[in-house]
Symmetry: C2
Subunit: 668 residues, 2 copies
């Protein structure tokens, strides 16, 4: 049958051609995305070590049940620290190693102990915490209580006679729940509990260090009922033992209170040390990292879907006599090239934010907290934005691959399952929206007395309302080639939405907070993308800078498109000059044009993320394009295929067939 | 601790109160949704049988791996047919039994054999097929080929010497893939293969019946390599053995060609019988059912999320001194009351469509196929609409529940995982969009010669372009209380979008087909909802009719809201009369007002779906509201909790701790 055209042989040819077509220098862009050549080499070396270690093999994972995945996760955690010792990894190396793992590992103790423990407690525990001599967890959420910490029910009652706190769970709903690593792993925890003073006064939530399990036997200590809360939706976070704990009058020594900022005296009086100052910088740092991480996740979705669309041929016959590559259809590439844009922006934006947070933290000594508080709120908005769009983008990538996207072997389902809780953890998105809007309204109401230069970077969009001569930009033929035009539109939209809520005397309509929060965040992001564009010439050679500039511009236009309802509603987007013709056509064609321009660069731009096949773990995203060989090979490993005849035959299928044959015979 | 307020005790109180607050007669609405009291009683009786049968117990399912879920599915299939015999279930009863199962069961042979087999073949197989004396599957999709059947590679070469067909898979990519029940269950299959005549002429895809496995041993027969394709994303369809098959020159008798519409003579000439007429009614029927099914799925999401939001208290303190019920927050109920609206509409719309398909099929004898073809296209649009919105709604329901929504015990994750492939199977949504638009353009281009009365129900929206005096409706104070206003807006939007594509001489922008397809489908749906509203007075008593009318109106306004970009873009939605004020505020307040009006009815309207706790299988959707007891009870069954100390302790945790303690000591 050698005359038969074999599509699976065509795959590698198509991939090679696409790779050759890119005009950019992939290495240059790869170093750009990876924060420089030196850091890329570190990543490459670490990925090399991990991907060849049998313990980090992923080929059996799709077939493992939850317990098996949990056991695998625990052995990976142990092995990572073993490798750290063997290879003398620095803390930065370890951060890289953890960042390339696609497992929820139960080993990251919250930094809360470092931030809030007294020097005495730190001297006792910090080396153990840092080296995993004890394994910690952070017990905040309760079965009946999420983000509203003031309503937590767990109590920590101070007993002056013995100088102890008694930790207690008075109700079923006070059971600590969802706590990462609590179920089976953690030996210790930092627990949020209401401090009750002698006499019964409730001082609200405070933090305490509590031992959970014996360091000799790992058995849970008396008075603690501890367990795993069960599987998560979509099979997400399967290797993590999110747990529950109930406490029955458990006593801990007084010194275990994390009392850097508040404590009790021996006799039981509440004290706040002088100069107590909470630091937001931990959370800020975490959230700026979240932007980068979302970028890398979307990058995986983009890489896999672009590679598969490059080798998948379907539908019309093209000039080469074969079915067209699906990436050549505008209705398809207009969906996946935008993922590339979002990934590039979030990776670079997150990195810029992390640097900004570092600067802010350093500048803290001057005592100016205002910027820090505003950045804190802005990162709430960013958390909402990157989780919402990242979740969407992963699902867009999966669906763009048609039927095979629903195979576990596409790899995208797992990424989605592990990322989707980002929409509801660490502050539910709809709750965070309210915070962003509250802060924006506060700034807006202070506007009359504000001079433009004193607006912080997060509120800069409000400057348009201050200048009486300022007017929204008007659309002309060059509009969509100019980043500034999109940025201005997005800023005006944010300003008008905030003004609308401020000017509404009755209750705002229910979606107002969400719309305004998104607009304010997107105005901020657009401004930062403008800065990224300005910085391109310094960061890349001219050809690469020109291509990445298009990627960034695409991001801005996509953002305008997603905000069209608001832009129209506030008169910022002009109706069509022609009656009953599509006013959005120009914008949409500009987006389509950028996607088309970027099409020959798509494989190069996604190769530049630098993912190995081990990192992607996707049959459809195989670097060499041999997707059908990969799908076939993976299916052969399905445990159901170990025998030709399933064990269900004797128990179920045979009885069904025999009954059916009997009934059929009776009817003849 | 009896003085402590126990929130978990409050749950049942809150649920009882909410149930008492509904003004509607739940039984009346339940019968309405269930197609009458008689059919409801049938469902109730069948659910009673299934839910008390130990084999249908769901409590272990969240902890089962894929093989276990597959074995459970097979035993359920067998048991269902056993129960059918025991209880003398009719075909309708069996349909109800299958519809209340939330498992992908590998037992539904495609109706293709009934439709396309010759009488001879039917006499041999139809009783066996109907009684499960043989188990079938439908082998269309190949590893390298999806919806474009003309490019399938599998061949069926006619051999006149022996009067046989030789079925062969010439390449890796020709491997049949994704075929439901093929992996481990099916004994027979209907296969799509290119008919090759003697001399080599390729006649394109045709259908053949092929035996796959021995009826004595269930072993796969010689020349067939058969297996399961492996796990699916999100753990979806775990109990179904989607399979692959490769054929190595397998011979089947000539009579096995399904040749009702086309065949070969003994000597190998291609023949088309006179009066061959393909029937779309099978697919139409299937797709109209898909609308209803999506409605019932969304109904589950609505029921669970509304019940949980009724008993969950969080945030601000309300007038009763407790935290407010989360359903009382507009930002929350504005997300979940709309699910109720979509569920009601899809359930009733699907049922009306099924009746219409029955009528059309009956009217076929008159020879008029035009309506049938148009309805075929319209159901493509409906498939896209109900899958897209249904997937979204399930995820909205899940996220509305905050952190606990991510627990597998919320039940919604499984519904989503099983429903989400609907976006990509049976014709990828983006491919179907093109079909809808092609048909719409064809009708549009025939418009000049068309009289309004001859426009079919699926194209009625185009009448606005025919009447020179017709103009889009203008917004007034009463607009959002009138279903007609919303329906007209949606019809004009569809007409303008189709006209826009028709008038565009260059290539349409890439999202045009999707926008137009959605608009055309939503105009059709809106028209049908108008009919449903008109029919309410006959179907329900005045109070219930008034409430359900609001549910339907909410659906129409939601649809308008989701189409705002297009409405603005074509000048159908007026800009605000005030400069820089939100033009959409009136619409949004109208939606919020309806949601608020429906709030006291929400528990009643969702109880009216009639789901038992067994059907919902959700800790958060418990009928009695005792959600925290339910979560606690389910977590206790997690297999990781069988021992206090995990087996990972010896293998991984202990080595990690010991290494850490050694390192910490070294640092001190």
């Amino acid at each position: 049958m050698s005359r038969v055209h074999d599509p699976s042989k065509q795959n590698a040819i198509d991939m090679d051609k696409a790779r050759a077509a890119a005009s950019i220098n992939v290495v240059d862009v790869r170093n750009f995305l990876n924060d420089g050549a030196a850091r890329w080499r570190k990543r490459e070396k670490i990925v090399g070590i991990l991907s060849t270690d049998p313990l980090f093999d992923k080929s059996k994972r799709p077939f493992q049940n939850r317990q098996q995945q949990f056991l695998r996760g625990e052995s990976i955690s142990n092995r990572l620290y073993e490798l750290k010792e063997i290879h003398k990894w620095t803390q930065e190396d370890m951060t890289i190693a953890l960042s390339v793992m696609d497992e929820g590992l139960a080993i990251s103790f919250e930094p809360v102990i470092d931030l809030q423990a007294t020097p005495d407690l730190l001297s006792k525990y910090s080396a153990l915490v840092a080296n995993k001599g004890i394994l910690g967890c952070y017990l905040q959420t309760e079965l009946g209580h999420g983000s509203n910490v003031n309503k937590l029910e767990t109590t920590a009652t101070y007993l002056p006679q013995t100088q102890e706190f008694e930790i207690h769970s008075p109700t079923l709903t006070s059971t600590k729940w969802w706590i990462g690593a609590l179920g089976k792993t953690a030996t210790h925890g930092v627990i949020q509990a209401k401090l009750i003073l002698p006499g019964g006064k409730d001082m609200g939530p405070h933090l305490f260090l509590i031992q959970l399990r014996s360091l000799d036997t790992h058995k849970s200590l008396p008075g603690r009922i501890i367990g795993d809360i069960g599987p998560k939706a979509f099979g997400g976070w399967a290797s993590t033992d999110n747990g529950f704990a109930r406490f029955d009058h458990v006593r801990i020594p007084k010194e275990n209170m994390l009392s850097k900022f508040a404590g009790v005296t021996d006799s039981g009086e509440y004290v706040t040390p002088p100069h107590a100052k909470m630091s937001f910088s931990g959370l800020l740092y975490f959230r700026s990292k979240m932007v980068t991480n979302a970028g890398w996740l979307i990058a995986k979705g983009a890489t896999v879907s672009i590679r598969y669309a490059t080798v998948r041929r379907q539908g019309e016959i093209g000039p080469d006599g074969l079915e067209r590559q699906t990436i050549s259809y505008p209705s398809l590439h207009a969906r996946i090239i935008p993922l590339l844009a979002r990934a590039y922006v979030y990776i670079e934006l997150g990195r810029a934010l992390t640097k900004r947070v570092d600067d802010l933290a350093r500048g803290l000594s001057s005592g100016d907290m205002s910027q820090l508080a505003e950045m804190h709120v802005m990162t709430s908005g960013l958390k909402v934005l990157v989780s919402t769009t990242g979740i969407q983008d992963l699902e867009t990538a999966r669906r763009s691959m048609g039927g095979h996207g629903f195979s576990a072997f596409s790899g995208i389902g797992k990424l989605y399952a592990d990322f989707v809780p980002a929409a509801t953890y660490e502050g539910e998105n709809f709750v965070l929206d309210q915070q962003v809007v509250r802060a924006a309204l506060k700034t807006f109401r202070g506007l009359s007395s504000t001079k433009v230069p004193s607006l912080s970077i997060t509120s800069l969009y409000l400057r348009h309302l201050l200048d009486k001569d300022s007017a929204p930009p008007s659309l002309d033929d060059q509009a969509w080639t100019q980043p500034t035009f999109a940025i201005l539109l997005l800023e005006w939209r944010a300003a008008f939405l905030v003004q609308e809520i401020a000017n509404t005397t009755s209750a705002p309509e229910p979606t107002a907070a969400h719309r305004a929060s998104r607009a304010v965040t997107e105005a901020f992001v657009a401004g930062r993308v403008g800065e990224l564009i300005t910085g391109l010439d310094a960061a890349l050679k001219p050809r690469e800078a020109a291509v990445v500039r298009k990627v960034y511009l695409l991001f801005l236009l996509m953002t305008v498109e997603s905000g069209l309802v608001d832009l129209f509603s506030f008169g910022l987007f002009p109706a069509s000059r022609m009656q009953s013709r599509d006013a959005t056509r120009g914008l949409r064609l500009a987006i389509a044009g950028l996607c088309k321009d970027l099409l020959p660069e798509a494989i190069g731009l996604s190769d530049a993320f630098g993912f190995t096949d081990w990192e992607l773990d996707s049959a459809l995203g195989a670097y060499d394009g041999k997707v059908y060989e990969a799908l076939w090979a993976k299916a052969q490993q399905e445990p159901l295929n170990e025998t030709d005849v399933t064990e269900a035959y004797q128990t179920s299928i045979r009885p069904l067939l025999l009954r059916g044959q009997k009934l059929a015979k009776a009817k003849l």
